[in-house]
Protein backbone atom coordinates (compact mmCIF):
# COMPACT_ATOMS: atom_id res chain seq x y z
CA UNK A 1 0.00 0.00 0.00
CA UNK A 2 1.41 3.40 -0.92
CA UNK A 3 1.68 6.51 1.23
CA UNK A 4 -1.44 8.60 1.80
CA UNK A 5 0.22 11.90 1.03
CA UNK A 6 2.53 12.68 -1.87
CA UNK A 7 5.02 15.54 -1.47
CA UNK A 8 2.68 17.71 -3.50
CA UNK A 9 -0.30 16.86 -1.34
CA UNK A 10 1.72 17.96 1.65
CA UNK A 11 2.40 21.29 -0.02
CA UNK A 12 -1.33 21.75 -0.62
CA UNK A 13 -2.07 21.00 3.02
CA UNK A 14 0.58 23.50 4.14
CA UNK A 15 -0.91 26.21 1.93
CA UNK A 16 -4.41 25.45 3.19
CA UNK A 17 -3.27 25.78 6.81
CA UNK A 18 -1.50 29.06 6.02
CA UNK A 19 -4.61 30.39 4.30
CA UNK A 20 -6.65 29.52 7.40
CA UNK A 21 -4.27 31.42 9.66
CA UNK A 22 -4.33 34.37 7.29
CA UNK A 23 -8.10 34.42 7.45
CA UNK A 24 -8.06 34.59 11.25
CA UNK A 25 -5.62 37.49 11.26
CA UNK A 26 -7.70 39.31 8.64
CA UNK A 27 -10.84 38.93 10.76
CA UNK A 28 -9.12 40.43 13.80
CA UNK A 29 -7.81 43.36 11.76
CA UNK A 30 -11.25 43.94 10.29
CA UNK A 31 -12.80 44.03 13.77
CA UNK A 32 -10.22 46.55 14.97
CA UNK A 33 -10.75 48.70 11.90
CA UNK A 34 -14.51 48.75 12.41
CA UNK A 35 -14.06 49.68 16.06
CA UNK A 36 -11.92 52.60 14.98
CA UNK A 37 -14.47 53.61 12.34
CA UNK A 38 -17.10 54.04 15.10
CA UNK A 39 -15.09 56.97 16.40
CA UNK A 40 -15.57 58.87 13.14
CA UNK A 41 -12.45 60.88 13.90
CA UNK A 42 -12.03 63.84 11.55
CA UNK A 43 -15.03 63.02 9.37
CA UNK A 44 -16.93 66.23 8.58
CA UNK A 45 -20.65 65.66 9.12
CA UNK A 46 -23.11 67.17 6.66
CA UNK A 47 -25.77 69.35 8.26
CA UNK A 48 -29.20 70.54 7.08
CA UNK A 49 -27.62 74.01 7.04
CA UNK A 50 -23.89 73.85 6.18
CA UNK A 51 -22.95 75.78 9.30
CA UNK A 52 -19.24 76.66 9.33
CA UNK A 53 -17.56 76.96 12.72
CA UNK A 54 -14.47 78.04 10.77
CA UNK A 55 -16.34 81.11 9.58
CA UNK A 56 -18.22 81.96 12.77
CA UNK A 57 -15.47 81.17 15.25
CA UNK A 58 -12.33 81.52 13.20
CA UNK A 59 -13.17 84.52 11.02
CA UNK A 60 -15.89 86.30 13.00
CA UNK A 61 -14.40 85.39 16.37
CA UNK A 62 -17.78 84.74 17.98
CA UNK A 63 -17.43 83.36 21.51
CA UNK A 64 -18.55 79.72 21.99
CA UNK A 65 -20.97 80.82 24.72
CA UNK A 66 -22.87 83.08 22.37
CA UNK A 67 -24.59 80.02 20.89
CA UNK A 68 -23.83 77.27 23.38
CA UNK A 69 -25.41 79.26 26.17
CA UNK A 70 -25.61 76.72 28.97
CA UNK A 71 -22.10 75.32 28.65
CA UNK A 72 -21.02 76.88 31.93
CA UNK A 73 -24.09 76.03 33.96
CA UNK A 74 -25.63 72.81 32.68
CA UNK A 75 -24.73 69.33 31.55
CA UNK A 76 -25.52 70.09 27.94
CA UNK A 77 -23.72 72.95 26.24
CA UNK A 78 -26.97 73.65 24.44
CA UNK A 79 -27.60 74.16 20.75
CA UNK A 80 -28.61 77.66 19.68
CA UNK A 81 -32.33 78.14 19.24
CA UNK A 82 -33.56 79.34 15.85
CA UNK A 83 -34.09 82.72 17.45
CA UNK A 84 -30.39 83.00 18.32
CA UNK A 85 -29.37 82.31 14.72
CA UNK A 86 -31.85 84.86 13.51
CA UNK A 87 -30.43 87.33 15.98
CA UNK A 88 -27.88 88.09 13.27
CA UNK A 89 -29.33 86.44 10.21
CA UNK A 90 -32.55 88.41 10.29
CA UNK A 91 -30.27 91.11 8.84
CA UNK A 92 -27.13 89.35 7.51
CA UNK A 93 -27.48 87.18 4.40
CA UNK A 94 -31.17 86.96 5.20
CA UNK A 95 -32.00 86.03 1.59
CA UNK A 96 -29.32 83.38 1.23
CA UNK A 97 -31.05 80.20 0.00
CA UNK A 98 -28.83 78.35 2.49
CA UNK A 99 -30.73 80.01 5.32
CA UNK A 100 -34.20 79.28 3.96
CA UNK A 101 -34.56 76.41 6.38
CA UNK A 102 -33.87 78.80 9.25
CA UNK A 103 -36.73 81.06 8.31
CA UNK A 104 -38.99 78.08 7.72
CA UNK A 105 -38.23 76.85 11.19
CA UNK A 106 -39.01 80.28 12.59
CA UNK A 107 -42.30 80.34 10.74
CA UNK A 108 -43.45 76.80 11.40
CA UNK A 109 -42.00 76.50 14.90
CA UNK A 110 -40.42 73.24 13.79
CA UNK A 111 -36.92 72.90 15.24
CA UNK A 112 -33.99 72.42 12.87
CA UNK A 113 -32.82 68.81 12.91
CA UNK A 114 -29.05 69.12 13.28
CA UNK A 115 -26.87 66.04 12.92
CA UNK A 116 -25.14 65.19 16.18
CA UNK A 117 -21.36 65.30 16.04
CA UNK A 118 -20.44 64.32 19.60
CA UNK A 119 -22.53 61.42 20.86
CA UNK A 120 -22.15 59.60 24.16
CA UNK A 121 -24.06 56.42 25.04
CA UNK A 122 -27.16 57.04 27.15
CA UNK A 123 -25.52 55.53 30.22
CA UNK A 124 -22.78 58.16 30.25
CA UNK A 125 -23.57 61.36 32.14
CA UNK A 126 -21.19 64.10 31.05
CA UNK A 127 -21.48 67.55 32.57
CA UNK A 128 -20.08 70.50 30.62
CA UNK A 129 -20.59 72.91 33.50
CA UNK A 130 -18.20 71.17 35.87
CA UNK A 131 -15.51 70.67 33.24
CA UNK A 132 -15.62 74.32 32.27
CA UNK A 133 -15.59 75.37 35.91
CA UNK A 134 -12.45 73.31 36.48
CA UNK A 135 -10.59 74.79 33.53
CA UNK A 136 -10.98 72.16 30.83
CA UNK A 137 -10.95 74.27 27.67
CA UNK A 138 -13.29 73.60 24.76
CA UNK A 139 -10.37 72.83 22.46
CA UNK A 140 -9.25 70.08 24.82
CA UNK A 141 -12.09 67.78 23.70
CA UNK A 142 -13.50 69.45 20.61
CA UNK A 143 -10.23 70.30 18.88
CA UNK A 144 -9.64 73.33 16.70
CA UNK A 145 -13.31 74.02 15.97
CA UNK A 146 -12.21 77.33 14.46
CA UNK A 147 -10.62 75.35 11.64
CA UNK A 148 -13.64 73.15 10.89
CA UNK A 149 -15.74 74.24 7.90
CA UNK A 150 -18.13 71.48 8.96
CA UNK A 151 -17.78 70.22 12.50
CA UNK A 152 -16.25 66.80 13.04
CA UNK A 153 -15.23 64.75 15.99
CA UNK A 154 -11.68 65.54 17.04
CA UNK A 155 -11.28 63.04 19.88
CA UNK A 156 -12.35 59.40 20.18
CA UNK A 157 -14.62 60.02 23.24
CA UNK A 158 -13.85 56.49 24.38
CA UNK A 159 -13.85 55.61 28.07
CA UNK A 160 -10.12 54.97 27.92
CA UNK A 161 -9.64 58.49 26.57
CA UNK A 162 -11.79 60.05 29.28
CA UNK A 163 -9.85 58.13 31.91
CA UNK A 164 -6.51 59.35 30.62
CA UNK A 165 -7.54 62.86 31.60
CA UNK A 166 -9.43 61.94 34.77
CA UNK A 167 -6.32 60.18 36.04
CA UNK A 168 -4.08 63.15 35.44
CA UNK A 169 -6.27 66.23 35.00
CA UNK A 170 -3.63 68.80 35.88
CA UNK A 171 -1.92 68.32 32.54
CA UNK A 172 -5.10 69.29 30.69
CA UNK A 173 -6.17 72.46 32.50
CA UNK A 174 -6.02 76.05 31.29
CA UNK A 175 -6.61 79.27 33.15
CA UNK A 176 -10.29 80.22 32.97
CA UNK A 177 -9.38 83.27 30.93
CA UNK A 178 -8.19 81.04 28.07
CA UNK A 179 -10.83 78.32 28.26
CA UNK A 180 -12.75 79.55 25.27
CA UNK A 181 -9.75 80.47 23.19
CA UNK A 182 -8.89 78.10 20.39
CA UNK A 183 -5.15 78.60 20.13
CA UNK A 184 -4.02 79.16 23.71
CA UNK A 185 -1.21 76.67 24.44
CA UNK A 186 -1.27 74.42 27.48
CA UNK A 187 0.51 76.16 30.38
CA UNK A 188 3.92 74.82 31.48
CA UNK A 189 3.94 72.01 34.06
CA UNK A 190 4.75 74.23 37.04
CA UNK A 191 1.64 76.33 36.33
CA UNK A 192 -0.41 73.19 35.76
CA UNK A 193 0.14 72.32 39.42
CA UNK A 194 -1.10 75.74 40.50
CA UNK A 195 -4.17 75.50 38.26
CA UNK A 196 -4.99 72.07 39.67
CA UNK A 197 -4.80 73.41 43.21
CA UNK A 198 -6.88 76.44 42.30
CA UNK A 199 -9.54 74.23 40.73
CA UNK A 200 -9.89 72.15 43.94
CA UNK A 201 -9.86 68.95 41.91
CA UNK A 202 -11.43 65.93 43.55
CA UNK A 203 -9.25 63.00 44.56
CA UNK A 204 -7.99 60.81 41.74
CA UNK A 205 -10.05 57.98 43.17
CA UNK A 206 -13.20 60.09 43.08
CA UNK A 207 -12.46 61.12 39.50
CA UNK A 208 -12.12 57.49 38.39
CA UNK A 209 -15.17 56.19 40.31
CA UNK A 210 -17.74 54.47 38.12
CA UNK A 211 -20.41 56.70 39.66
CA UNK A 212 -18.63 59.80 38.38
CA UNK A 213 -19.94 59.17 34.86
CA UNK A 214 -22.38 56.25 35.15
CA UNK A 215 -25.68 56.03 37.02
Amino acid sequence: MSAVFSRRAVLVVRLAVLALLGLCVATVLLAVWRARAYEQLGEPITQPIPFSHKHHVGDDGIDCRYCHTTVETAAHAGLPSTAVCLGCHSQLFRDQPLLALLHRSQASGQPIAWQRVHVLPEFVYFNHGVHVAKGVACVECHGRVDQMPLAWRARPLQMQWCLDCHRDPAAHLRPTSQEFSMDAPLPPPDQAGLLARAAHLESRRRMTDCSTCHR
Binding site: M1, S2, A3, V4, F5, S6, R7, A9, V10, V13, L163, R205, T208, C210
Partner: protein, 177 residues
Protein backbone atom coordinates in the same frame (compact mmCIF):
# COMPACT_ATOMS: atom_id res chain seq x y z
CA UNK B 1 25.01 12.19 -0.36
CA UNK B 2 23.27 11.00 -3.45
CA UNK B 3 22.30 7.50 -2.52
CA UNK B 4 18.91 6.92 -4.16
CA UNK B 5 17.92 4.78 -1.23
CA UNK B 6 16.81 6.24 2.05
CA UNK B 7 17.45 3.14 4.13
CA UNK B 8 17.63 -0.60 4.29
CA UNK B 9 14.67 -2.13 6.09
CA UNK B 10 13.95 -5.39 7.88
CA UNK B 11 10.57 -6.61 9.12
CA UNK B 12 9.91 -8.69 12.26
CA UNK B 13 7.00 -10.37 13.94
CA UNK B 14 7.75 -9.72 17.60
CA UNK B 15 8.97 -6.89 19.73
CA UNK B 16 11.76 -9.02 21.16
CA UNK B 17 13.13 -9.64 17.68
CA UNK B 18 13.05 -5.96 16.88
CA UNK B 19 14.79 -4.96 20.08
CA UNK B 20 17.43 -7.61 19.57
CA UNK B 21 17.96 -6.50 15.97
CA UNK B 22 18.19 -2.86 16.93
CA UNK B 23 20.68 -3.77 19.65
CA UNK B 24 22.76 -5.74 17.17
CA UNK B 25 22.77 -2.90 14.64
CA UNK B 26 23.77 -0.45 17.33
CA UNK B 27 26.57 -2.76 18.53
CA UNK B 28 27.70 -3.03 14.93
CA UNK B 29 28.34 0.69 15.11
CA UNK B 30 25.38 1.98 13.16
CA UNK B 31 23.93 5.20 14.55
CA UNK B 32 21.20 6.27 12.11
CA UNK B 33 18.86 3.49 13.20
CA UNK B 34 15.12 3.76 13.14
CA UNK B 35 12.83 1.16 14.73
CA UNK B 36 9.08 1.10 14.18
CA UNK B 37 6.64 -0.67 16.50
CA UNK B 38 2.81 -0.77 16.79
CA UNK B 39 2.99 0.10 20.47
CA UNK B 40 5.47 1.47 22.99
CA UNK B 41 8.08 -1.30 23.36
CA UNK B 42 10.12 -1.10 26.53
CA UNK B 43 13.84 -0.74 25.87
CA UNK B 44 13.49 -0.10 22.14
CA UNK B 45 14.40 3.56 22.37
CA UNK B 46 17.48 2.74 24.43
CA UNK B 47 18.39 0.04 21.92
CA UNK B 48 18.43 2.54 19.06
CA UNK B 49 20.55 4.85 21.20
CA UNK B 50 17.96 7.36 22.33
CA UNK B 51 19.05 9.10 25.52
CA UNK B 52 16.89 10.91 28.08
CA UNK B 53 14.10 13.19 26.76
CA UNK B 54 14.35 16.91 27.64
CA UNK B 55 10.56 17.17 27.65
CA UNK B 56 10.13 17.39 31.46
CA UNK B 57 12.38 20.45 31.58
CA UNK B 58 10.31 22.12 28.85
CA UNK B 59 7.09 21.38 30.75
CA UNK B 60 8.53 22.81 33.96
CA UNK B 61 9.45 25.99 32.11
CA UNK B 62 5.97 26.19 30.61
CA UNK B 63 4.47 25.88 34.07
CA UNK B 64 6.61 28.72 35.40
CA UNK B 65 5.73 31.01 32.51
CA UNK B 66 2.03 30.32 32.96
CA UNK B 67 2.06 30.75 36.71
CA UNK B 68 4.09 33.92 36.84
CA UNK B 69 2.26 35.36 33.85
CA UNK B 70 -1.10 34.60 35.39
CA UNK B 71 -0.24 36.19 38.70
CA UNK B 72 1.28 39.25 37.08
CA UNK B 73 -1.77 39.72 34.90
CA UNK B 74 -4.03 39.80 37.96
CA UNK B 75 -1.76 42.05 39.93
CA UNK B 76 -1.38 44.48 37.07
CA UNK B 77 -5.12 44.63 36.34
CA UNK B 78 -6.24 44.95 39.95
CA UNK B 79 -3.50 47.15 41.40
CA UNK B 80 -1.90 49.07 38.55
CA UNK B 81 -4.21 49.41 35.57
CA UNK B 82 -7.52 50.34 37.24
CA UNK B 83 -7.60 50.09 41.03
CA UNK B 84 -11.21 49.80 42.23
CA UNK B 85 -12.49 49.11 45.74
CA UNK B 86 -14.32 45.80 45.80
CA UNK B 87 -16.01 44.64 48.98
CA UNK B 88 -13.40 46.55 51.02
CA UNK B 89 -10.80 43.97 50.04
CA UNK B 90 -7.25 45.21 49.50
CA UNK B 91 -6.36 45.91 45.88
CA UNK B 92 -3.66 43.27 46.02
CA UNK B 93 -5.70 40.50 47.63
CA UNK B 94 -3.26 37.72 46.82
CA UNK B 95 -5.17 34.81 48.33
CA UNK B 96 -7.91 35.45 45.78
CA UNK B 97 -5.34 35.41 42.99
CA UNK B 98 -4.18 31.84 43.68
CA UNK B 99 -6.79 29.84 41.75
CA UNK B 100 -6.24 31.61 38.44
CA UNK B 101 -2.49 31.43 38.92
CA UNK B 102 -2.74 27.69 39.43
CA UNK B 103 -4.92 27.13 36.39
CA UNK B 104 -2.59 29.14 34.19
CA UNK B 105 0.36 27.09 35.44
CA UNK B 106 -1.32 23.84 34.47
CA UNK B 107 -2.49 25.21 31.14
CA UNK B 108 0.88 26.37 29.97
CA UNK B 109 2.62 23.25 31.26
CA UNK B 110 0.13 21.15 29.29
CA UNK B 111 0.77 23.16 26.16
CA UNK B 112 4.47 22.67 26.65
CA UNK B 113 4.05 18.91 27.05
CA UNK B 114 1.83 18.43 24.02
CA UNK B 115 3.52 20.74 21.56
CA UNK B 116 6.95 19.98 22.95
CA UNK B 117 6.45 16.32 22.09
CA UNK B 118 5.12 17.15 18.65
CA UNK B 119 7.99 19.44 17.78
CA UNK B 120 10.62 17.08 19.14
CA UNK B 121 9.08 14.27 17.08
CA UNK B 122 9.17 16.48 14.01
CA UNK B 123 5.43 16.11 13.62
CA UNK B 124 3.35 16.83 11.71
CA UNK B 125 5.24 15.26 8.80
CA UNK B 126 2.57 13.81 6.56
CA UNK B 127 4.99 12.51 3.94
CA UNK B 128 7.94 10.28 4.77
CA UNK B 129 9.91 7.76 2.67
CA UNK B 130 9.04 4.92 5.03
CA UNK B 131 5.39 5.18 4.14
CA UNK B 132 6.20 3.78 0.73
CA UNK B 133 8.03 0.80 2.16
CA UNK B 134 6.36 -2.57 1.52
CA UNK B 135 4.18 -3.86 4.37
CA UNK B 136 4.75 -0.68 6.34
CA UNK B 137 0.99 -0.21 6.84
CA UNK B 138 1.34 -3.15 9.24
CA UNK B 139 3.64 -1.09 11.43
CA UNK B 140 0.51 0.25 13.12
CA UNK B 141 -0.96 -3.25 13.45
CA UNK B 142 1.25 -6.19 14.24
CA UNK B 143 4.63 -5.87 12.54
CA UNK B 144 7.96 -4.43 13.70
CA UNK B 145 10.45 -2.72 11.39
CA UNK B 146 14.10 -1.76 11.60
CA UNK B 147 15.73 0.75 9.28
CA UNK B 148 19.42 1.49 8.77
CA UNK B 149 19.56 4.90 7.10
CA UNK B 150 21.96 5.43 4.24
CA UNK B 151 22.86 8.90 5.47
CA UNK B 152 24.66 7.25 8.39
CA UNK B 153 28.36 8.21 7.97
CA UNK B 154 29.16 4.68 9.04
CA UNK B 155 26.70 3.20 6.57
CA UNK B 156 28.15 0.42 4.49
CA UNK B 157 26.01 -1.57 2.14
CA UNK B 158 27.56 -4.92 2.83
CA UNK B 159 27.81 -4.67 6.61
CA UNK B 160 24.31 -3.32 6.89
CA UNK B 161 22.92 -6.20 4.89
CA UNK B 162 24.89 -8.67 6.90
CA UNK B 163 23.71 -7.28 10.21
CA UNK B 164 20.09 -7.28 9.13
CA UNK B 165 20.33 -10.83 7.76
CA UNK B 166 21.88 -11.96 11.00
CA UNK B 167 18.68 -10.91 12.78
CA UNK B 168 16.59 -13.26 10.70
CA UNK B 169 13.83 -10.85 9.67
CA UNK B 170 10.62 -11.93 7.96
CA UNK B 171 11.85 -10.08 4.94
CA UNK B 172 14.24 -7.38 3.87
CA UNK B 173 13.61 -4.41 1.64
CA UNK B 174 15.08 -1.18 0.46
CA UNK B 175 13.33 2.11 1.15
CA UNK B 176 13.56 4.60 -1.67
CA UNK B 177 14.36 8.22 -0.83
Amino acid sequence: MSDPRWALMAEYETAEALVAAAQAAHDAGFRAIEAYAPYHVEGLAEAVGFGRSRLPAVVLAGGFVGGLGGYFLQWYAAVRSYPIEVGARPLHSWPMFVPVTFEMTVLFAAFAAFFGALVANGLPSLAHPIFDAPDFDLATRNRFFLCLRTDDPRFDEARAGAVLDSTRPLRRAEVAR
